[in-house]
């Protein structure tokens, strides 16, 4: 059976529940990247992110009836499952320090920026990105989640509030504190606090 790209998630899920592997694979491919990015950005660990995403889809496979289409989208449901797994992981390993992770082919975990700059510039960029990643990982979980959703996933405040299941004011507040901590960390990482320049 040929699956149409625009086939709705709930239709695909029903087919998957009946044993249609292609439908399940289609669902997986549609949602895995966003879930993986979120898990990776939250945990900073590719192995953990991989496990978390796998767990989320295993949950869907084992008990597809857990998803109630009247309560929201399948993407939202999967995000909720992934978020729970992330929180459990972070509770279990509150201060897990990510190792230098490699892909299966031995390259870095991230995508190499397509840039025509010199190797020195690229190295500097890479270092900066690593510093920011470390600063994000330093944030307490709830502030990190707000920063990941609003700054990295580029969700609106409303979408983030819906995803987390809290009022929009809570997201604003967490983001405010997360930003303050992040800026403080970045200032520290730049070899001590920098004097703020006043631009008139």
């Amino acid at each position: 059976m040929r699956i149409v790209d625009q086939e709705r998630d709930d239709v695909l899920l029903r087919q998957a529940a009946k044993g249609d592997e292609e439908a399940f694979t289609f669902l997986y491919r549609r949602h895995q990247a966003a879930l993986y990015r979120f898990a990776l950005r939250m945990t900073g660990n590719v192995w953990a992110a991989e496990e978390i995403v796998q767990d989320a889809f295993m949950t869907l496979m084992r008990d597809p009836k857990k998803y109630d289409a009247t309560r929201g989208t399948l993407g939202g449901f999967l995000y909720g499952v992934t978020r729970n797994r992330v929180m459990k992981h972070l509770e279990r390993l509150p201060r897990e320090v990510p190792l230098e992770e490699k892909n299966e082919d031995g390259t870095g975990t991230g995508v190499v920026l397509q840039d025509s700059a010199t190797p020195a510039t690229l190295a500097e960029k890479r270092e900066r990105v690593d510093r920011v990643r470390a600063a994000v990982q330093e944030l307490p979980t709830e502030f990190r989640e707000a920063v990941v959703l609003c700054e990295l996933e580029e969700m609106s405040y409303e979408e983030a509030a819906q995803a987390v299941g809290c009022p929009i004011g809570t997201i604003r507040s967490r983001l405010h504190r997360g930003r303050a901590l992040l800026m403080a960390h970045l200032e520290i990482l730049r070899d001590g606090p920098r004097r703020m320049t006043v631009s008139k």
Binding site: A16, G19, E21, F24, T25, Y28, R29, Q32, A33, L35, Y36, R37, L40, R41, A49, E50, V53, Q54, F57, M58, M61, R62, N103, E104, T109, G110, V111, L113, K125, R128, V129, R131, V132, R133, V147, C150, E151, L152, E153, E154, S156, Y157, E158, I168, R172, S173, L175, H176, R179, A180, L182, M183, L186, E187, R194, M196, T197, V198, S199, K200
Partner: protein, 228 residues
């Protein structure tokens, strides 16, 4: 707008749908007039640019292919197991249903054969004993007395209990050795035909009696049944 408010609303008011245009304008005015908040805004914009770089770096991150492979393998295993289990359950139910069906059919057959055997047995007993038919039983004597053998009331008593029978006049006890019992319905007055005394007041009453019928079909003895 105060500095605290600016920190909450001014840094990213553009994306916060709950911030009104007036508040955004007030935040912009505040940033222009407050050096601290302007520095904060500049610092945040710098940090944000770095966050953008981080976001871009991991924007195309994908779950490794092995995860999809593992999930598909698990999916196949799960569904083939499920199908197998379903087939086994269906087979078990089918076997159970077949067993019940066979049992029911066997029981019906057995019951039917029992009934047939019983009917055959009773038929053979009736024919072999030369039981007088309805017309035959209306013998000259009995006919006048309203002697009536009712088909429904003909009951062949299996026992050979010959007690409480009154021998009809002229019958020797040895004559009834091979006699069969025949239950008949007759008027009480018909007892007179057998040489028995009859209460004239109840002469027309219908009664049931057992007759001991000899080999020649003639009654040898009579027994009155108690009325219920």
């Amino acid at each position: 707008m105060k500095c605290e408010e600016f920190e909450m609303l001014g840094l990213d008011g553009g994306r916060d749908a709950s911030v009104s245009e007036t508040e955004r304008a007030a935040a912009a005015d505040h940033a222009n007039s407050c050096a601290r908040c302007a520095a904060l805004l500049a610092s945040w914009q710098e940090a944000r640019a770095e966050l953008r770089a981080l976001a871009e770096e991991s924007a195309a991150a994908q779950t490794p292919a092995r995860v999809e492979m593992r999930l598909r393998q698990e999916f196949r295993t799960r569904h083939s197991t499920f199908k197998g289990r379903r087939a086994a359950v269906a087979a078990a139910w089918a076997l159970a249903a077949a067993a019940v069906l066979i049992g029911a059919v066997s029981w019906l057959n057995w019951r039917h054969s029992q009934q047939v055997a019983r009917v055959k047995q009773s038929n053979s007993t009736v024919t072999s004993d030369n039981v007088p038919s309805k017309s035959d039983s209306a013998a000259p004597d009995a006919g006048t007395a309203g002697f009536n053998v009712d088909d429904d009331s003909v009951i062949l008593v299996a026992d050979n209990e010959s007690s409480r029978f009154t021998l009809l006049p002229g019958v020797q006890p040895s004559d009834i050795d091979d006699a069969e019992i025949l239950r008949v319905r007759m008027q009480r007055s018909a007892l007179g035909a057998f040489g028995l005394p009859v209460n004239e007041d109840l002469a027309n009453e219908w009664i049931q009696v057992d007759l001991l019928v000899g080999d020649d079909g003639s009654p040898q003895a009579v027994r009155l049944l108690q009325q219920q």
